[in-house]
Symmetry: D2
Subunit: 154 residues, 4 copies
């Protein structure tokens, strides 16, 4: 009983994957950081972040803000996979624990929904190193996402 | 890759279980809340909290502070199982997401170590309902515990 | 500019104080811990927790769960002072940083609203020692509270 | 008593400002985001982030990861102002509550130390809009920073 029982994973929006990809494409921050979508399923989204020297902290590791960026977007889109059509998702809050230095060839943020409520969705995202060697868990995020009706966009 | 790779679970203190039980017995808050130890293993501790009407919030559910209490102690003792002899553990901070009302016959807080560092240990604790029916995940806690040398005690 | 600009503090419920007191009286957990209301104003609630040996951790300090209890209720009721009539408040999540051991004659949890939204209210609560000597900040909590219409109660 | 009593603010490192500026200059992530130092004092650092279209989320607001970046670095450097010479600071964990959309000409992250311990420092950072109009509090971060002896660098 150490793993949380999975949420009911039937998506309410049959086009959830297209919606996630469309919204992701509008996040300029993702393109700037070189983040790509690695996996989408109901209640789960993985995003890949390559190591880049221009997003580092003082010791040459990726900055915690870059790690937060990939974990936050993975979490928001994991929440979006279970949201109704014509909704948007916004981060309410997140907490990130940094477990190991963010060094390596790249990183994979694996977010999953812990609970999808009517208004609020709670997600967890684990960030691992990718590339040569064993994956190392470098960070974990616990977050709250709010699901909102989409307002008219131009 | 959605589950974190397990930490190295070799306990540094062969008497870790006795140490946890001895410290737990000194936590008057545990006895007051009726909390008992359900499971101890290297890197993992489960504590059981019975429902009690005198620890409730305004709607008759267990108060979030009671849920935090059981999750926090489970996390601290999970950290203690991997700590060296002659150390004590103290919570640095914790974050609790409340996922469902804390109603039911009782609750089980299942804490595990995500990373055991020299000074800091990061833990996650999931709190489930127990008793009749399917266990429901009602809360999850992500926390940081500091491992300190024991100071002389009378 | 280091202090947050105050929220608009006009209460939407003229009977906010009575509502807070009535809900507080229904929280059995407050009576059990001996917690009392010290101050109520729009956007701010202070609760007092006396030191008690039966709510302690292994070193004789008040358990972090007891501190979380008083900070969480103070935050929820701070949120309630700004909520519309016929609403209830529930903790969504909170994060508690423990800054110093919880020893002393008593503690005062001072919660204030950082932002009161339509659905979500964000609060901060500082917990100080009371009694002899200078007040010491022993913990701080940052939390999210959801405001919900009251459902019919028996 | 609603504001935390200030920490003892005597810096242990007389060259704290130079140390902060030198470390900041090595954070490539700061230069990439266009972040600059606005204020340094013992226990307090303010960093300015200009709005930039390439760091946005799907609605054209600055991404929460960009806001986390500026708040995290401000907090780490606030901690550094009170740390001994020959130490480095690393984020252990942070929690960010997002209070309003990150739109505007720019943002100012105002971080201050709540408690500076031997090993761990706890900080709070408020992020405000800058430019035309009243400053709006858009986010607040509560974080833990670890102070470590500097290891030899090439």
């Amino acid at each position: 009983m150490s793993a949380p029982p999975g949420p009911r994973l039937a998506p309410k929006d049959p086009d959830y994957e297209a919606r996630v990809r469309e919204s992701f494409a509008r996040q300029s921050h993702m393109a700037t950081l070189g983040i790509t979508i690695a996996f989408i399923a109901p209640g789960e989204v993985h995003l890949a972040l390559p190591f880049a020297e221009r997003f580092c902290q003082q010791n040459g590791f990726m900055h915690a803000g870059a790690i937060a960026s990939v974990a936050d977007s993975a979490s928001g889109y994991a929440a979006r996979t279970l949201a109704p059509p014509d909704t948007d998702v916004l981060a309410v809050e997140f907490k990130l624990n940094l477990l190991a230095p963010a060094r390596g060839e790249g990183f994979l943020a694996c977010a999953r929904v812990l609970r999808a409520g009517r208004t609020l969705t709670v997600c967890q995202a684990d960030v691992f190193t990718t590339g040569v060697g064993e994956p190392t868990l470098i960070a974990t995020m616990l977050s709250t996402v709010i699901v909102r009706p989409v307002e008219g966009r131009r």
